[in-house]
């Protein structure tokens, strides 16, 4: 079988090694790069990210990668954002004032409430394993990135902000934190975002990465 070619976008932030190792374990041929030509030459991109939204967007802009990613998106390249990389797919974030995102999925990034739905204080960041649930607008995950995943399968989350897509149909999966639904996977055409870390979520996480390589 031919190995799937994939580029992990390197903009100076995030634990790239873990993402690379996990994708290689799933059979991908991975190049970590910030070179526009490399990024535009592959059928699949992964945009990782750990840290603050504004810093990450500034690092992308400094390397002139925002436009390159948008260009790849318009060419139909499959793009998966992970954690902060998922949040960057949206229009803007409220983290430290308003910062513009890549605008590939309509919506914004907002803080997770420090109060749960019953009014109790809850711990933020949301760290640990949480179950995926079907959003109101979805009845199953057939034919999507999450094919083969069951509601109730748990994934590893670490985040203080969350994506809030404008359109319900772009919510592919949620999780529930403090009684509130948090967007866990967003998808619009060739653009996909995972709030959790599939590379740190054990076998079910690898299942998602393998599926991404076959889309």
């Amino acid at each position: 079988m031919n190995k799937q070619e994939l580029t992990v976008i390197d903009y100076g932030m995030g634990n790239l090694l873990s993402v690379k190792r996990a994708l290689e374990h799933c059979g991908a041929s991975v190049i970590v790069s910030s070179d526009p030509a490399q990024i535009l030459s592959v059928p699949r991109l992964v945009l990782p990210g750990v840290g603050a939204f504004g810093d990450a967007m500034a690092e992308l802009a400094r390397r002139e990668l925002s436009l390159v990613i948008k260009e790849a998106a318009s060419r139909g390249t499959l793009i998966m954002g992970i954690c902060l990389g998922m949040q960057m797919l949206l229009d803007e974030s409220e983290e430290f004032g308003q910062t513009a995102g890549l605008g590939l999925i309509p919506g914004k990034v907002v803080p997770i409430s420090t109060l749960s739905s019953d009014g109790n204080r809850q711990k933020v960041p949301h760290i640990g394993w949480n179950d995926l649930v079907l959003p109101a607008a979805k009845s199953n995950w057939d034919g999507t990135l999450l094919q083969g995943i069951s509601p109730g399968d748990a994934f590893y989350f670490v985040h203080s902000f969350m994506a809030s897509p404008l359109h319900q149909e772009h919510r592919l999966a949620d999780c529930v934190y403090g009684g509130v639904k948090v967007s866990a996977v967003v998808a619009k055409d060739n653009i996909i975002g995972c709030q959790f870390h599939p590379e740190k979520s054990g076998e079910v996480g690898l299942k998602i990465l393998r599926r991404f390589l076959t889309l």
Binding site: D153, E199, K200, G205
Partner: protein, 254 residues
Amino acid sequence: MRKARLIARLDVKGPNLIKGIHLEGLRVIGSPNEHAVRYYEQGADELIYMDCVASLYGRNNLSDIVKSAAENVFIPITVGGGVRSVEDATHLLRCGADKVAVNTAAVANPALISEISRRFGSQCMVLSVEAKLVGEKKWEAYTDNGRERTGLDVVEWIKKGVSLGAGEVLLTSVDREGTRKGFDVSLMQAVTREVSVPVIASGGMGEASDLIAVVKEGYADAVAMADILHYKRASMRDIRSVALSADIEVRRYE
């Protein structure tokens, strides 16, 4: 309720997985990564690697072990022992660690907690505390694997560490460590009632049911296990099903 995390703790000396009693009298168990992979396959939620002689020699020796673990273990990895600077932390994170645990260097220089937390986020900065009972509900923080006194009260030190930016606490009871007598639940209670960040209970797990009290009464967010797994007294699966039957929410894993 958040899911309680079941963490396999691997204490390492040189190339070997080891285990002591009260963090001393170390015995060689075997290859760290063979054990790590087994715990991963059994459904461990996280791994903690501790270089137990790093502080003695002033350097962490785990880079290669962590690098090779990151090839076939796909869950969060915390690495501690001899992390003395932001550069040490950076290096371990580049090797595939997701979080670093700091004890000795944080006691010597508490600002290191803030520096690591600011650079990588508080979720990355685990404050490791070795606690010894010194009086009625009073514990003193120790460093260098329970060898060196600090004069610091455990609860006060942890409160300070959290205010400086520690995002999680690894709390090891030196008194219980390696003894199989169960966790020090009152130590956990004393700490969890004072801080809002997750606290990992470590030291003393003799049988699977020991986790029930430390989670339900001690409010531990996570349980670190070593001896019980290394000597195969219980598997991750057994431990998970004991937790579930006690109504403790844990990650489902078939």
